[in-house]
Symmetry: C2
Subunit: 277 residues, 2 copies
Amino acid sequence: MTDDLIVRVRVDLSYDGAGFSGWAAQPGRRTVEGVLSETLGRVLRLPEPVRLTVAGRTDSGVHARGQVAHADLAADAWAAHADAALRRLSRALPPDLRVRSIGPAPVGFDARFSALWRRYAYRICDDPARADPLRRHDTLWHPRGLDLAAMNEAAALLLDEHDFAAFCRKREGATTVRALRTLEWERDADGVAVGRVVADAFCHNMVRALVGALLPVGEGVRPASWPAEVLAAEVRNPAVGVVPPHGLSLEEVRYPDHGLLAARAVLTRRVRVEGDA
Amino acid sequence: MTDDLIVRVRVDLSYDGAGFSGWAAQPGRRTVEGVLSETLGRVLRLPEPVRLTVAGRTDSGVHARGQVAHADLAADAWAAHADAALRRLSRALPPDLRVRSIGPAPVGFDARFSALWRRYAYRICDDPARADPLRRHDTLWHPRGLDLAAMNEAAALLLDEHDFAAFCRKREGATTVRALRTLEWERDADGVAVGRVVADAFCHNMVRALVGALLPVGEGVRPASWPAEVLAAEVRNPAVGVVPPHGLSLEEVRYPDHGLLAARAVLTRRVRVEGDA
């Protein structure tokens, strides 16, 4: 009688977003969800693609090194193929999509609603002499040098809970209130400016619009107070550019300790609505 | 009367080798030399492509982050466009080929013959769970874990001056005696095994054959003494695999201080012959 039992499986994955029309399955498009759900069904010998719930619904061209999803599977099907699943996925998936681990999730786990926060990174090379052709797929090449101190000054004014409507593509009925925990820039060993952005969750386009608002500050074209003024207006500002997707990567999704997973999911579900992550 | 004056210009460049049939110009093929020499001629408004001499003639698919070349240019043509050259090259070159700097070389400089040593890096991810799709273009994915300590033990036995004929594609009349200064493996912050290989110069295929000889040691299939035995035989050994080019990158070329450049070039030219680097 195991046929009726369901096991929730957590999947950790990475992808190069260049070849995907974003996460969400769309008819006739190559999407991360589409490829993973079809391959997972095949590898587990299931009659149909696996339904997935994801932590961060990345846009077209956005990468992920730390994406998390879950799927509810028939316990007997999972038990029959659990040991071989990771190895088979490694062979069956295309090179631009890798599953890092797959296994039963703790009780109460929900890839989307249990998440405490998501961390994204945005990479910008602002010195043409240091542009690395081998990293051009995940780094924006910006022709003018950026003052990261000015960008960090501006970024600090955006932290904490606000209505980020000014930086989001609005969806009917969905809240744009988010808690921005971290927004800071640092140069890595190669001199690349890396923006670290952490929030409980993000609305659509939010990270790329935040970076877009900080760029003119880094260039000295706008004062450090400008992004906070845009935020305060709570309406989309056409002066804010949305930076290209290929510099952006979802790096990490953090969940609470096992005992608190279910409580977190209930709480999150109450304050947010379907369609955002 | 500046028309007869020649200035030697040093060019530092990086490229993603995937889209090039190696460095050396070949009719009908896209090569680094071909693209750079044509673009340089155009950017400097010269009547024809610029002749280049390079430090490391990389094979098809091999990358470079620290390649160096030189060109001898009419001094007046250079003077007319020197200030704009780097900016124009940045616009005119394709994204997989970047010039990091360009300018007059010190007296006695020869990109090939003045070089003291070349440093290559070979990247291997030997843990499928850590494969980063965004680095798949410059990292070999190896399905089994490697024992780097064993590889380093084997590598140490290959150091110093030897006839590396066992690891080279032989060319008539060219010496295969090389001085291997460094051959060692280390894991980077992401767990990727990175081989650091330094020699005065390399013969054709040499780095990839050295790595190919160390892999079975890392897998425990051959003893640490095996690569040294292969070396001692001084003939090409078919048991040595040549690893794929996309894990390999020319990272750095080191030259002596200005005063010693010409002396170094004379010395090098005497012991090596045309066709190697």
